[in-house]
Subunit: 585 residues, 2 copies
């Protein structure tokens, strides 16, 4: 090694040792005859000192000439610092430097490499390798490293086998768009990159592997939104001979293990909620339950009092914002405008302030008596000083809008503390959802999800009502994982494909191998997959996954650092038997 | 869980327990009023018993009707077996079955699911999910699972950070062919799948990550030979502030840890050999040193004695096969024919038998006296009873041929014991190798490998003589890993690209981001990558990597189970702005 110690490990007990350190120059302070250099590496910062008199003039000059981010090797004695810095673990010592070697010079970096940087997003992405030097960014990736190790430790300890499934697989039109890979050896044919190892993990269950997991890259060629990546990482798992309860308990164990080992947080039993309740009380299948503020439906109390907006609405529904009764007219107008933006699309907002004197002040005083409003307040569990916020309209639309409002109020009232974690299982998802565009039912999770036995008869009469053995794990309003008990017999799987509008040929062509596998002794099985990037972001207290990925792509799916995607040679195209069309569209 | 226990865990101490087991029917033996069923899962086999009198007739009939590979759930009492089977851990007990539930029926599998199967390669690949049910195959994947866990445990313990590098990267013409992925959002542009994360891991060193590792899928679009896969797995590693010795010691530690924890073998210090010595003494840069049989060069002793074949040869070189002096004329003819096959291409074989009476019998007695042959024998360290095998010709050709012969003799004489492991570091590889076809030098490892400082001046005068700071790890004649100390300054890297025939523009276009990164403070660094599939195969005592991959592709790069690659829709092609050409070539 070019060093005897890292820049993070020397302490008072090391005083007197002769050491060699290597690292990057973080800062040079030059007070004439006295120069301090902060030397940084992954492990910390150690101060080098060069003093006129005890240091040769050449060495002093060398030290003075060091630029930011120079890579150096310094040799010297560990001495006790006169004025200690208790903010860093090495703050009690410094290195009286006797020799210095520049291992590599550095140009002035395009942005400041400190926790607070002046570099904008684009610049930091282009020079991602410099951005990764910043402690705050590296720590996120260290967290990810720990999460990976602890995930595997837990999975291994409960008997799961890590199996790598292939990356070059087969394109299936179901679901999101595949990335494809032209085959050179088989002209005109293509591999596809997996959106998930779903069919492979089910086949591993048919193989009797019993418990499978993998931390695996998956790919989706979607139109990118903020915080979506074309390649992302999943913790992918499957178990045999299980019922839903076994999966919930096993992965509750995993989540608890991660919180305990990575964050030092001992979680209580994870709460559970049906999809129906989540929609009814939170307007959302991934409710943030760090705060209550549940929906209260007010149709009975609010309709037929002459207020046409409510009377004509399918649903009148409100939330009670505790302690927000002092909101000013201006604040309420801002809330209303926020709700009316096209992203939310509400027509308006009705509010009721629960005054401290027991009276009510509302935006609909014309239509409702104090008694009426008192009844609302009572039903919503409001007390004096609270603020009732009520929306109305078509049920599913208004629930979405109120859900957004609830989250905003949670934010405004500081009820969404990033250091508080409230995981939640959402259960009993619908099997199918109606798609207006294609005028047919789609699988809400995927076509391999099993319907609940007791709902099977509804499949012909009222397909939208059939519930699935499907579950999601939500943490603080973010969907972290989801899975289901799978179909494991050919006939049910065939039925499902037909209900989803597959012709028998299509089903056979795309999933024939899976249905055939089901005929050779497939065990009952189920599984779950977790979005690993998002799980890391949640653990890191961040809303964005990008900083938890070493080399992310931008919103246009580009890696601007290496300039990818990019053109390839005509020779390559020819070898692959493909040509470009519409190149200039 | 649908079971209380697995099929591998019940013992005599469990007698009297009421249990529920699930698994696959391995075998049914029906002796009229007495039926035994072997129930199998990943963990073992447990015997179910059904007896007339104590079992209802319905249950007896059900048991009798079970077919191979049916998936069942059985409930019953653990009882002591009358005749115990000490070959299996559960052999002391059986389950007196009180109820039976068929969870899934099974068609008769296309081949027998036992350690010895009647299924051919093609059939087993098509039904890979059934092949994976065989214990011998599943055990190989369990070994792989263990190798993965132990690799990460070791790397984590010595401070390496696991970082996922991107899969959608940029195509570079250097090296093997890339698989490419058309971008839909950027028409006419392509991502490429990584052949290795080489540049990314070097950038992570520039980022100060200090120690990086990853067990990662890599991709090469090569013409497939037996036992090559288009996608394969590497243990990929990089370290900063190191010299070659640090890397050798760190990864010697990893290999020892794996042998110790996975195989229970405590390895001695790993031997080291220069590339030059490996070529000189074994004709091969990956010698199998489980046995000695080194090359002895005989030019001085064998030339100018009138034997024209030797006289006109650049090199006369032989091996001494200990104890093979009794080889018959027929055996020697077979060896000669084996050497003359086009795969080896030797012109002939000269042998000398060291007879027990101290005389020599050779195929060139006409040209060489007993004294001559005695001198050969002495130089080759031969004793009575040994066999000398001598080849001649152009030096590099004859070394290759003799290397093949050495390995064959090692095989024939049982010197290549699969339970013996002799790892070996090969050091001081040449930096460049001359390519006859393109008439230029190629990087022997890759263009990022640093030349040895003391050889730098040869770069202009005798480039082929420049040695690199490069090393390979070889186990039992198989290359398992390789790496180098990298170039870390822009000027050397530029020089290297120019020596490799890159124009300045090409170098800039393909690797500009790396050379730019080197200007912002790149530390000295180096690394290594191990072929994980092959490492697993070596640990499993197998020559073939295919069984250590859950879902391998065949020699034509096809996954015959899922039928991939395959055609995609015109709509998909159109979205990707590509068209097919030469489809019917």
């Amino acid at each position: 090694m070019l060093r005897t110690h890292t820049c993070g490990e020397l302490r008072l007990a090391d005083v007197g040792k002769k050491v060699t350190l290597t690292g990057w120059v973080q800062r040079v302070r030059n007070k004439g005859g006295l120069i301090w250099v902060d030397l940084r590496d992954r492990y910390g910062v150690t101060q080098l000192i060069f003093e006129e008199g005890s240091t040769s003039d050449t060495l002093l000059e060398e030290a003075a000439s060091l630029g930011r981010e120079y890579v150096v090797q310094a040799e010297g004695d560990v001495i006790e610092r006169a004025s200690k810095n208790d903010k860093i673990p090495t703050g009690a010592i410094e290195i009286k430097t006797s020799s210095l070697r520049i291992l590599n010079a550095a140009k002035v970096p395009p942005f400041i490499i400190e926790d607070e940087t002046d570099g904008g997003e684009d610049l930091r992405m282009k020079y991602r390798y410099l951005d990764l030097r910043r402690n705050v960014v590296r720590e996120k990736l260290l967290l990810r490293h720990k999460m990976m190790q602890e995930t595997r430790k837990y999975m291994d300890s409960v008997g799961f086998m890590e199996v790598e499934t292939p990356v070059l697989i087969k394109s299936t039109p179901e679901g999101a768009r595949d990335f494809v890979v032209p085959s050179r050896i088989h002209p005109g044919e293509f591999y596809a990159l997996p959106q998930s190892p779903q069919t492979f993990k089910q086949l591993l269950m048919v193989s009797g592997f019993d418990r499978y997991f993998q931390i695996v890259k998956c790919f989706r060629d979607e139109d990118l939104r903020a915080d979506r990546q074309p390649e992302f990482t999943q913790i992918d798992c499957e178990m045999s001979f299980v019922e839903q309860e076994d999966i919930l308990q096993t992965f509750e164990g995993m989540i608890k293990h991660l919180f305990s080992t990575v964050k030092g947080i001992e979680l209580e039993r994870i709460a559970r909620m049906s999809y129906a309740d989540a929609m009814k009380y939170y307007g959302n299948d991934k409710p943030d339950i760090r705060f209550d503020m549940r929906f209260t439906e007010l149709n009975e109390l609010a309709q037929n009092r002459g207020f046409n907006v409510f009377d004509s609405a399918e649903l009148v529904v409100g939330i009670c914002a505790k302690g927000a009764g002092e909101y000013t007219r201006k604040q309420l107008d801002e809330l209303t405008n926020w709700l009316k933006r096209p992203q939310i699309g509400a027509k308006g907002l009705v509010y009721v302030k629960c005054n401290t004197d027991g009276t009510f002040k509302s935006s609909v005083d014309k239509f409702y008596s104090q008694q009426d409003l008192g009844a609302w307040a009572e039903k919503m569990g409001a007390q004096t000083g609270d603020l009732l916020l009520v929306l109305s309209g078509e049920a599913s639309t208004v629930r979405k809008q109120l859900s957004e409002l609830r989250l905003k109020m949670g934010e405004d009232l500081n009820l969404r503390d990033k250091s508080v974690y409230k995981p939640l299982w959402i259960l009993d998802f619908p099997l199918l959802e109606w798609d207006e565009e294609t005028q047919r039912y789609h699988a809400m999770h995927h076509p391999f999800t099993s319907p609940k036995k007791e709902d099977m008869e509804l499949l012909d009469t009222d397909p939208g009502k059939v519930r699935a053995n499907a579950y999601d794990l939500v943490i603080n309003g973010v969907e972290i994982g989801g899975g289901s008990i799978r179909i494991h017999d050919k006939n049910t799987q065939k039925l499902m494909f037909s209900r989803l509008g597959f012709s028998e040929e299509e089903a056979q062509k795309q999933f024939g191998f899976l249905m055939e596998a089901f005929e050779y002794g497939a065990p009952p099985h189920g599984g779950i997959a977790f979005g690993f990037d998002r799980l890391c972001a949640i653990f890191g207290g961040s809303d964005s996954i990008r900083d938890f990925i070493a080399f992310p792509k931008n919103n246009a799916g580009k890696d601007v650092m290496i300039d990818s995607p990019s053109s390839i040679s005509d020779e390559q195209l020819k070898e692959l038997s493909i040509g470009l069309i519409n190149k200039n569209r």
